[in-house]
Subunit: 156 residues, 2 copies
């Protein structure tokens, strides 16, 4: 059980938006589900916290949160329209996600070491680079262990 996302409610408030139960529900759902959810899933889970929650409100709230940098859109080959909680604040437009192929959990990582790549591309292509989207995929430690167990069982 997570504590209410006080940082985020603060940020919403400071941006001049009202703190309503539907918005709190969406925030809480994103916090409790790191794996990235699509609007339908947010709606389904959010109704547990706010039974009157409408799907339309989920769409509007997700847009709002993404705009404020409190949520971020997650893209992958399979799912393009998922949202995950952002750590906090206006994290800017660039995103660096690590998506687990097993449990779909999404974690962020600091994007150090990309400057060299960007500089090289800039020199080679003549483009000015203004944004980047880096999404790594792999297996988290838990899913690695689960996979190893599965293989052991298969060997019996």
């Amino acid at each position: 059980m997570n504590a209410p996302p006080s940082d985020m409610t603060q940020a919403l408030r400071e941006a001049g938006y009202r703190l309503t139960r539907p918005r709190l529900a969406v925030l809480q759902v994103l916090r409790e589900n790191e794996e990235g959810l699509d609007p339908q899933e947010v709606h389904r889970l959010g109704k547990a916290l706010c039974p009157s929650l409408g799907l339309v409100t989920v769409y509007r709230t997700l847009d709002l949160l993404a705009e404020l940098g409190l949520a971020r859109r997650v893209h992958s080959e399979q799912h393009c329209h998922r949202f995950a909680s952002a750590t906090c604040g206006d994290a800017g437009r660039d995103s660096h996600h690590l998506v687990c192929r097993g449990c779909h959990r999404v974690v962020e990582f600091p994007c150090e070491g990309l400057e060299g790549l960007i500089e090289g591309v800039r020199q080679r292509t003549g483009y000015t680079i203004t944004g980047h989207l880096v999404e790594l995929s792999g297996l988290c430690p838990a899913c690695q262990a689960a996979q190893a167990d599965g293989e052991k069982e298969a060997d019996l």
Copy 2:
């Protein structure tokens, strides 16, 4: 005007698929438009090459080509459902695109210098990294020039 994409037709054939006019049209459209097209655009352009081309067929063909590695899905914050021609063959799952914010042209770039980043993330998170999606966005030289011209005019 491009030559017919002979490598690709060969690959289609070898995979046991028939070479039909709609498929050739879709292939050709992807080849002639590097910037990445959504299915609607492929359909519109493809009708010039094959007037009877149906939108449904475009969807089915794009899926097929993506599966064979002849086309690749392009994701970005704005457009998640675009397709671009793959250089050729089964180019693997990893993609490195540079998207121009002005003209939406997509170019690929060699992804050197990412190993260090990946290794760092692996050590820090314990994840095994099996794939990556890197998309840089910016302005191509032509659009930079266009923008500069626009600003000059605005100054008058």
